[in-house]
């Protein structure tokens, strides 16, 4: 939706607002964000593993996509080396990623190079995004572009966005939106080109857009027009995945995220989850021991913290808790507290990571003390670490 607003030089996330100075149309959220959101939605919908952003510029789209759990490989290509160098570190893992690693591996690479050149490292992708890219090509480059992206890279899905010149009638200025634009297409022009490419490389194409026109001007269409191309035949996949072509792009930045697919991280997470579960059960045991001694406390109803606290000692039984109740109970012998592995594995997250008790035992070997037959975790009932 567009709305009138005089103030427009707002800077968000280091990007200058979409609409140039003297314009009165302002999008909310800003148009560039809407485009990124569109790609993000596509990713959420189709769950691609390998995603490339051609003409990634300041890597803003990649920064958004790196939080997507399904993606395992993320690539950005741009011809401006300085920009890639400067922005690379925005893609590095956070400190938190080391404490709470992702489920799946993620490798992010930034390449310096022209998207008109073929590099075999861009083969076999599930989604390739070309956001506001093609309008920067002169006719010669535009002619080369489909052969590289559709013909050579040949990903399962391509999303191409470009300005819709039909919308320009709402802008006072008659020039292109960006001085580097070599052309701006009407919907008709774009769709003709897109359908032609789709036919030539056996893709299907759907048209949509972001940046809805203001009321009363619906006929000009969205400010940005988008074509979503999907590959028809997937039979050639094996041929496509042959990675013996040339490496023409220069790697500017690459990073690999910690994940549960890596043994060391997986083991760590399992160990801490086990300790957490054991600790929780131990607390519950200690609380129940204590409750035998103490009168139930009367909570002040006006206390704002009550709600938070009230569901601590007596948690609502969830499905998972119910499942857990079915498993062997933790028990005490002397001052030792034992939790059967059967019970620990009932924790959904641990079940998800380990699968079965045997695997769990394997993970815990040498790290966590088990009882003599290896069926339960053994800890001190009263930890000296109580503070």
């Amino acid at each position: 939706m567009a709305e009138n607003n005089i103030e427009c030089n707002i800077v968000v996330d280091g990007n200058v607002e979409e609409v140039p100075n003297k314009k009165i149309i302002k999008f909310n959220p800003p148009l560039y964000k809407q485009r990124y959101q569109f790609v993000k939605n596509l990713v959420e919908q189709h769950q691609p593993k390998k995603v490339a952003d051609l003409g990634c510029g300041d890597v803003c789209l990649l920064v958004i996509l790196k939080y997507q759990k399904c993606i395992e490989e993320l690539v950005g290509v741009d011809i401006n080396e300085g920009r890639l160098k400067w922005n690379g570190s925005r893609l590095s893992p956070c400190m938190g990623d080391h404490l709470d690693p992702r489920e799946l591996d993620l490798v992010i690479t930034l390449y310096h190079g022209s998207v008109l050149e073929k590099d075999c490292r861009l083969l076999g992708f599930d989604l390739v995004a070309c956001i506001e890219l093609i309008e920067h090509f002169d006719s010669e480059d535009l002619a080369k572009f489909p052969e590289v992206v559709f013909g050579y890279m040949s990903p399962a899905m391509i999303v191409i966005s470009t300005p819709n010149s039909d919308f320009n009638s709402l802008f006072p200025s008659t020039v292109f939106r960006d001085s580097d634009h070599k052309f701006e297409w009407s919907r008709m022009q774009f769709q003709t080109w897109a359908l032609d490419m789709a036919n030539r490389y056996s893709y299907s194409v759907e048209f949509t857009g972001v940046g809805e026109p203001p009321a009363g001007a619906e006929d000009v269409g969205c400010c940005t027009q988008i074509g979503v191309f999907r590959k028809k035949a997937k039979a050639t996949e094996s041929a496509v995945l042959e990675h013996h072509g040339e490496h023409v792009y220069e790697v500017i930045y690459t990073t690999s995220y910690p994940s549960l697919q890596q043994m060391n991280y997986c083991r760590r997470v399992v160990t801490y989850l086990v300790y957490r579960e054991v600790h929780r059960m131990k607390r519950r045991c200690q609380v129940s021991l204590r409750q035998h001694e103490l009168e139930p406390e009367s909570a002040d109803p006006g206390n704002p913290t009550r709600k938070f606290i009230s569901d601590l000692p007596v948690p609502v039984l969830t499905e998972a808790d119910k499942a857990m109740e079915m498993t062997p109970q933790p028990f005490c012998i002397g001052d030792k507290f034992y939790v059967p592995l059967e019970r620990i594995i009932a924790c959904p997250r641990l079940r998800h990571i380990c699968g079965n008790v045997e695997k769990l035992r394997e993970f815990l070997a040498d790290v966590v003390e088990l009882n003599c037959d290896g069926s339960a975790v053994k800890v001190d009932l009263h930890d000296c670490g109580d503070y």
Binding site: G14, N28, M95, S179, Y272, S310
Partner: protein, 852 residues
């Protein structure tokens, strides 16, 4: 209104614009401090960006060196101000040479690396303006860096000032660049200064370069240090991860530019703040859950799950839930739950959790306009240890075992870092483009000064081990001890028999020491702090020389209430002993000996002495410590000897507002100490040497401008003719340099008495390092001494040896310690007041070591 209360008040009157969710930047780089990181970090900081340009321009228009340095926050600035205080030039006797000569030379390996620069190296400082003006620092940088003219040059840029190692062709250069949105921006780059490598600004730029390099080596900045989360040390039992890393600095030492690195660990809890809180509530029960959480959490630093920032917890807002909304920067309202889902694909599991409140420091202006960030406990991790955890012996032991590095282990870490820096392509490129050459590890020659003899009543002994002469002491009479005739013992009923056998033991060990212990009056009370205090209040009369309490547990309230009452309200020396200590079979004799020695000191006794060649010398120790109880209060402790033998100590202590100058009380203290000396010796000391501990970065100037004049005025007022000569030495236990000796293929800690007064010292100061301690595990760190004022004109050699002698005189430990005894006494005194009594001790105790 206290700081906390203010936070609360703000929390309640939350204006939507004030609250924000943990800086919604998807930016992966750590919280950075002004210029120091501007280049290496990509975090676009919009906080107060509207002011950035004017502010920077303001800083620049005056166009002098001080400004660039002054503008920026953080450590660099403070260190720089210290370095600009050139104290040595005023000290004539060390202007040419500040090195000592006695002792045996020893070759030492340091943790400092040479950084070589070409002779004619220059740093070029440019000023960059944008037309139209752009506020975002990141965009400014992106536009500038995308220009080919700069792409392969070494550069550092903070949004306004650009540093290059190569001169641009023209003095004023106009470039234009285009934003992603097609706006053409004109940039004017103007050369403002050419700086030689010795300029402080260069040091700042070198620090930025190394920050960048360490980031390239996959390290993350937390606080001032850099850590490597990919190689953690795990302590799962205690839910801790230790991230190895380094504290680094680039600095000009004597004649060279050196890069220093010391191994450091960051402790992280492997649980979210929510888990921590939940556990805490289970443990303490519902009634005091909120208070306990606040007590444990407020003041701690958390790390957020989704970006690379750290925040200090300033409050917990129990009334805000994740389902509540907040206003985003664009003005739209969104719930916390939706926000994290949309922005980071994170699903919050607990919708009832409160939010943590963090006040964001505005780096650029000191306006009252403080902003708050709301953080979700589920998405925060604790760094460091909560206060109480530090008293968990098992946990601390586990941490110590993992973090203690042998000299060789430390050296290996360093060598690896140096290797990484030299091998990493990006790091090497960075260094090369700047023209820096990362050289080899620096070695230097130190000296081991002669060991000291310990003087006991009937003879002089040369201890077998300087680290511990308790064995040598066992059969010797101490210098002087008062008989203990009338005293009181308070214990619980359960501890009656251990107390009895302990008292027997005490008498037995006391005799050979020359310490006569009579039978005390024993009171049996119930096991609670109030009962102990009540008994004390009831039975202590002015005749009582000492009160001993056999405590049933190490619960802090026993100790605190007893110490508070007996050091302020009713001044009597007191001795607290844990009952469980007395249960240790087979160790009774050595425990009793230690306690007997402590008790003698508290009664005003003297244990041992060292030979002091200066005949009339007063040494003073000053320490400053934050009060644990009330924020904004500090405790200043002052300890001075009252006899030339340096065995009797006078002490003063005061609690004062942080804002007040430490100096305010020093004059009074100094006068008190001189009066005491006069009374004792019927004259004034000829020389006074003050060891000042607890000095923070950037306080050197204050010391010189306020504290020394206070001390001087007290000294000159004390006598009409010749007043005592004064020297002031700043003592620092924490310093970056480390020294190791090479023996064969391995490395070892240098022996005690090792002095370093070259190479790793500063040309502008009269300073030296002294290793005065022995350790069997881990690596020793030297203590750094900076003589900032010196009327005495002692030779450096004598100053160093005197300092070493004073490290032998701490009566709580029959061995060497890392600082001069008066400093340690002052520390012990301030610690007692800051942690336990929170009240100034009575003057009646000023002449005994009651705080041991």
């Amino acid at each position: 209104m206290s700081g906390r209360a203010r936070v609360r008040a703000r929390g309640m009157a939350r204006s939507p614009s004030a609250a924000e969710v943990g800086r919604m930047q998807a930016s992966p780089s750590p919280l950075s401090v002004a210029l120091s990181d501007s280049e290496a970090s990509s975090s676009s900081d919009h906080v107060g960006t509207s002011r950035i340009s004017q502010k920077y321009e303001g800083g620049l228009s005056s166009g002098d060196a001080g400004c660039t340095v002054k503008e920026r926050g953080g450590k660099i600035r403070r260190e720089m101000t210290d370095l600009s205080v050139c104290t040595r030039e005023k000290l004539a006797h060390v202007r040419d040479c500040k090195r000592g000569s006695s002792g045996i030379p020893v070759k030492l390996v340091t943790n400092l690396f040479n950084l070589d620069l070409p002779q004619d190296w220059r740093l070029y400082q440019y000023h960059v303006t944008y037309s139209p003006d752009i506020e975002s620092r990141r965009l400014r940088t992106a536009l500038l860096y995308s220009r080919r003219e700069l792409s392969n040059k070494a550069k550092a840029f903070d949004g306004v000032i650009l540093f290059l190692s190569q001169k641009l062709e023209e003095k004023v250069m106009e470039l234009s660049s285009e934003t992603q949105r097609g706006e053409t921006v004109k940039m004017t780059i103007t050369l403002t200064r050419e700086l030689p490598a010795s300029s402080p600004v260069c040091i700042q730029v070198f620090s930025i370069i190394f920050k960048k390099i360490l980031k390239k080596l996959s390290m993350y900045q937390i606080g001032r240090n850099f850590y490597k989360p990919s190689e953690p040390v795990e302590i799962p039992r205690h839910k801790l991860s230790l991230w190895p890393g380094f504290a680094i600095s680039v600095s000009h030492f004597e004649s060279k530019l050196l890069f220093g690195a010391d191994v450091s660990y960051k402790i992280l809890r492997n649980e979210t703040v929510l888990e921590f809180m939940t556990d805490l509530c289970h443990k303490t029960g519902m009634s005091c859950c909120t208070q306990t959480c606040e007590k444990q959490l407020i003041g701690l630093i958390v790390l957020t799950r989704y970006n690379n920032k750290t925040y200090r917890i300033d409050d917990i807002d129990w009334s805000v839930k994740p389902t509540h909304t907040f206003q985003k920067r664009d003005g739209t309202e969104i719930t916390y739950v939706d926000y994290y889902k949309q922005q980071y694909d994170i699903t919050l599991s607990d919708l009832n959790q409160p939010v943590l409140v963090s006040l964001l420091k505005n780096k650029r202006n000191d306006d009252a306009d403080v902003r708050m960030a709301h953080l979700i406990p589920e998405l925060c991790y604790l760094t460091g240890l909560p206060g109480q955890a530090t008293s968990d012996f098992q946990l601390m032991k586990a941490v110590a075992e993992e973090t203690r590095l042998s000299p060789l282990g430390r050296q290996q870490r360093l060598a690896r870092l140096a290797d990484d820096i030299q091998r990493n392509k990006d790091a090497r490129f960075e260094l090369e483009t700047w023209g820096l050459h990362f050289g080899c590890q620096m070695s230097l020659t130190g000296r081991v000064v002669p060991s000291e003899k310990i003087i006991i009543q009937d003879h002089i002994c040369e201890p077998v081990s300087a680290a511990d002469w308790s064995k040598d002491m066992r059969t010797c009479k101490i210098l002087s001890a008062q008989s203990l005739n009338k005293w009181l013992v308070i214990c619980s009923n359960r501890a009656e028999s251990v107390t009895e056998s302990f008292l027997n033991c005490l008498r037995r060990v006391g005799r050979p020491l020359g310490f006569n212990v009579d039978q005390p009056k024993i009171m049996k009370v119930q096991e609670n702090p109030a009962a102990f205090l009540h008994a004390i209040q009831k039975y202590v009369d002015p005749e009582v020389q000492l009160v001993m309490c056999i405590l049933p547990s190490n619960q802090k309230s026993y100790y605190d209430s007893i110490k508070k009452y007996l050091s302020s309200d009713c001044p009597v020396p007191s001795q607290c002993v844990l009952a469980q200590t007395l249960n240790k079979q087979g160790m009774m004799m050595s425990i009793a000996t230690k306690i007997a020695l402590q008790m003698t000191c508290k009664l005003g006794g003297e244990l041992w002495a060292v030979e002091i060649p200066l005949k009339s010398l007063m040494v003073v120790g000053i320490d400053v410590c934050k009060d644990a109880f009330s924020q904004g209060m500090v405790v200043v402790g002052f300890v001075a000897n009252s006899n030339p033998r340096i065995t009797r100590w006078f002490s003063r202590c005061v609690l004062q507002r942080t804002s007040a100058d430490v100096a305010d009380c020093l004059k009074v203290f100094m006068t008190g100490a001189l009066n005491r000396w006069y009374k004792h010796n019927h004259g004034l000391p000829a020389r006074i040497i003050v060891y000042r501990d607890g000095v923070g970065d950037g306080q050197l100037k204050t010391l010189i401008e306020y504290e020394i004049p206070q001390l001087l005025s007290s000294v000159s007022e004390a006598s009409s003719n010749t007043s005592p000569k004064l020297s002031v030495i700043v003592v620092r236990k924490k310093c970056l340099p480390r020294f190791l000796t090479e023996t064969g293929r391995t490395l070892q800690n240098p022996p005690p008495g090792t002095v370093v007064d070259s190479g790793a010292t500063r040309p502008e100061w009269y300073d030296f390092y002294l290793i005065s301690r022995v350790t069997c595990r881990g690596t020793i760190s030297p203590t750094y001494y900076n003589v900032i004022y010196d009327d005495n004109g002692l030779k450096p050699d004598h100053m160093q040896r005197l300092t070493f002698k004073l490290c032998h005189l701490y009566y709580n430990w029959p061995g060497l310690i890392s600082v001069p005894a008066p400093c340690q006494y002052a520390h012990k005194l301030t610690f007692l007041v800051a942690q336990s009594t929170h009240k100034e001790p009575s003057l009646e105790l000023a002449n005994s070591l009651f705080y041991l």
